[in-house]
Symmetry: C2
Subunit: 304 residues, 2 copies
């Protein structure tokens, strides 16, 4: 009998660890009311954080770009992430860190004067495409009625919750019988989709969009692993026509890893099953989650 | 001695009225984690809601566009808004209604299957430009490094919390010694700013941008009152050059009404004080807040 109150997840809110179902933030937090907030997500797999320092680096770059300043040090924030995972007992976890602009406690409406607020939580590992669906490959569409918010409006390299364009794309996918959508920019260059980066194998080279996209850690890992395997890569802008001619397509995310795509706009991609390069990189991606160089062990309490 | 626990504001969260300082939402609500949410704000002035049905109409149009469905009827939501104001005892209040996509309770990552969640709160009336600053007029800049998120990405007529572009603009304003900023679109046409619509008097006509902007209720009220006063209006796109040539500039919002602008990019607008048309419309705007045709009385409990 498991009596751990954190078994479904553990959050850290204003100095206390709380069960995820009880974790709440002030309704007046401008992280909610203005989406004035940044975040990052790291995975724990088989009891080990994957590339945690890279996630902490990106998180810091994000909050610095937004001119925020946490009241906690990096070491304190890192310890809280470990604390959430350890209390939950979860061996495979989705671990989110959030820095919000905070509450306008003095009615000044001046975000420079708010006390920024750190939140964190660990919940069971999240899959954008579930493992059983990854066997067959997922169904991608290219959004037609929605373009990606341009970097001149909202900087996609600052990881953010402003998913209005991505959610519109997701509804377009549902309407067309797809699972998810990739968005193009105003010039027709493909960017990314709800929570993932895009990869395509084209003429023997692995392509991924260069601009207007999140600088994904999984994306970077896949580029690293492709180099290790001698696969040519190109970080470049490309359009729908190039994607339609791809022999393989996959999506990357901390929430699901390397996810094969087997239909694009309802048409078969390559041979209609997860491709050779995709499967090779997916295997290496999960192997890396057990290798010392990429990972940091979580110490769980003995009762967990 | 006032012992009312709601005197600083009253929220309605999941079926209960709570003091605003205790009002919290689940951290896992996708209204926060994805900014998948819409809202509206109505003002109460001298104990009367202003154009409440118009706010409820716009709110409904917004949630329908996002394919949400509240579990409460319009009548129930309206009663909750009155309930928040009545309990707070506030005669001048800022009353916000929110419909969020809600929590992914079953780990399906499919927003069509989440139970949408209504929240509401009343707090003391909010001023984007405080009354004493309105006497002198505020300081506006035109953002140079940030463009307004285009409607093809996020529809601005669906009132939303995705303020990343607007907050960037606000920081640009601070950096240049201004109070707030108006953003242009990719073609250089002016749109709106953080929480307000833009108006300019130019060659005897009152201009306000037509596209890529929130369909503000205060904006509409000002257009109605201008018509009443025989002032020519034009809802049209115009650029920075036109704005620089304006004899008067003002901003409109439920949070502050008709707010005169007396410097643009550090240069004096018109005679450097709130203009004749601006002051006329501001006076009529506040008079309308006490007129039966525009307003609905709140019934306060006798102890409030």
């Amino acid at each position: 009998m498991n009596m751990n109150p954190f078994e479904k997840g553990c959050a850290w809110i204003e100095g206390e660890y709380v069960p995820i179902a009880e974790a709440r933030i002030p309704i007046l937090d401008t992280g909610f009311l203005r989406s004035d907030v940044t975040y990052d997500v790291a995975a724990v797999w088989k009891g080990r954080f994957f590339r945690l320092e890279d996630h902490l680096d990106r998180f810091e770059a994000s909050w610095r770009r937004l001119r925020m300043q946490p009241s906690l040090s990096r070491e304190e924030m890192r310890a809280i992430l470990f604390g959430c995972v350890a209390r939950s007992g979860l061996k495979d976890a989705f671990v989110e860190m959030i820095l919000s602009r905070g509450v306008d406690r003095h009615g000044v409406r001046d975000p420079r004067r708010f006390e920024n607020c750190f939140y964190a939580y660990a919940i069971p590992y999240v899959w954008i495409v579930k493992p059983e669906e990854q066997q067959l490959g997922t169904h991608l569409i290219i959004a037609r009625d929605t373009i990606r918010t341009p970097p001149q409006s909202v900087d996609p390299t600052v990881k953010n919750f402003q998913w209005g364009d991505l959610i519109r794309g997701q509804f377009e996918a549902y309407d067309q019988g797809g699972h998810t959508a990739v968005l193009a920019d105003a010039d027709g260059n493909l960017t990314d989709g709800p929570g993932f980066n895009l990869f395509a194998c084209h003429d023997g080279t692995l392509l991924t969009p260069s601009h207007g996209v999140l600088q994904g850690i999984t994306r970077r890992t896949v580029l690293d692993l492709a180099e290790e395997k001698g696969i040519a890569t190109s970080v470049t802008m490309f359009n729908a026509q190039v994607l339609r001619a791809a022999s393989e397509i996959f999506l990357t995310s901390t929430a699901g890893g390397v996810m094969p795509v087997t239909t694009l706009d309802g048409r078969q991609v390559g041979e209609g099953k997860p491709g050779r390069v995709t499967l090779l990189l997916r295997r290496r991606y999960w192997e890396a989650h057990e290798e010392d160089g990429w990972t940091t062990s979580v110490e769980y309490p003995s009762h967990a």
